[in-house]
Symmetry: C5
């Protein structure tokens, strides 16, 4: 799992039928000291996350489909938790 | 899921039998401010997307096979939606 | 799926029993303007591709095993088509 | 599998129900000569690892869910062993 | 599949029960002209490979578990063959 921040949403009125019910949020991966890093991606929201919240992101299709509650859903990333705090020894980080 | 733009097509008359019926589109991943980024890839079209359209791309085999409607199809990426709008706070992007 | 060019073969007389019957080809991923890019990889040939041919490559274990025709085969990439032509708007490419 | 070092923990009180029971540790991938490399990630702890310990990390959803003991768990990385020693010929390393 | 060279082993006395019986080797990915490239990784040995041998590596959990002979094993990479020779046209390589 990686750490990200919710930065927005995407509107898609014309989508595949199997995609119905998927609430998507735009998430920016962030480093341990909260800097954006790498490309933003879209994830299924499994916890009711809001804009600016720091979240726990799982990146794998099977797991994301579990969050959506539909085994065969065509998704590949999901928000599985809202992060309250990160406890880390900075001397050990790259 | 990531954001891409449909930029073309590929012609392949000699392909594997299990690949029949897969309409493939060439998709260029783009950044939030619409710049091409990284290598283009081929995805199964699940929504009838057209050239130049901005689309929602799922990159995972199981999910792509779901879009094609055949569980065992040998595919690894699919277009699952056409993007109408992206709503994002630019201050939060890498 | 990505685009590659068949550049060679690999000889492996001592291999795992579950690997029997897998014809492997060495494939170099190429850009849309046909330049080699990134490391070459080995893929199961599902279409009888020859050296120098431009091919359609699927990179995922489940899909590659489908091409081999054995669900549990320990493979992770496969050639699923021979590319005749690529039709793309160059102004849209990274 | 890759080699990492446990560097911390993450607190997430609001998480998806299917995520219950998953003890997560923050792991920093390290090189063979023990230097941090690449972004830290969160993994399910399957062995009772402690801070500073060098661990064996498996990065794949199905495997991580096996460690958690729940097939459908929405996880994508797990700690599967604590590393006592690495025996390597340094002349062969990149 | 990619090409690697076996460069060592890892000792882990405290590991997850589902990991029993997995013989792990440290493998360094190499280029076609035999130069180390990218980070070393740990793979399940399915062919009895020895140090210095050039091997065929499959990187995917399901496939690696097949090599181990246990469907639910928490592994993500495996050695599936020993490479005798690589036959490649150097003009075509990146």
């Amino acid at each position: 799992m990686i750490i990200g921040r919710v930065i927005g949403t995407v509107v898609s009125t014309h989508k595949h039928a199997k995609f119905e019910g998927a609430k998507l949020l735009l998430v920016q991966p962030v480093t341990l000291d909260d800097q954006p890093k790498g490309p933003a991606l879209l994830a299924v929201d499994g916890v009711g996350a809001g804009i600016y919240e720091k979240v726990l992101l799982v990146i794998e299709g099977r797991a994301a489909a579990e969050i959506l509650g539909r085994k065969g859903a065509p998704v590949d990333a999901a928000i599985v938790g809202i992060i309250d705090a990160i406890d880390v020894d900075p001397a050990l980080v790259a």
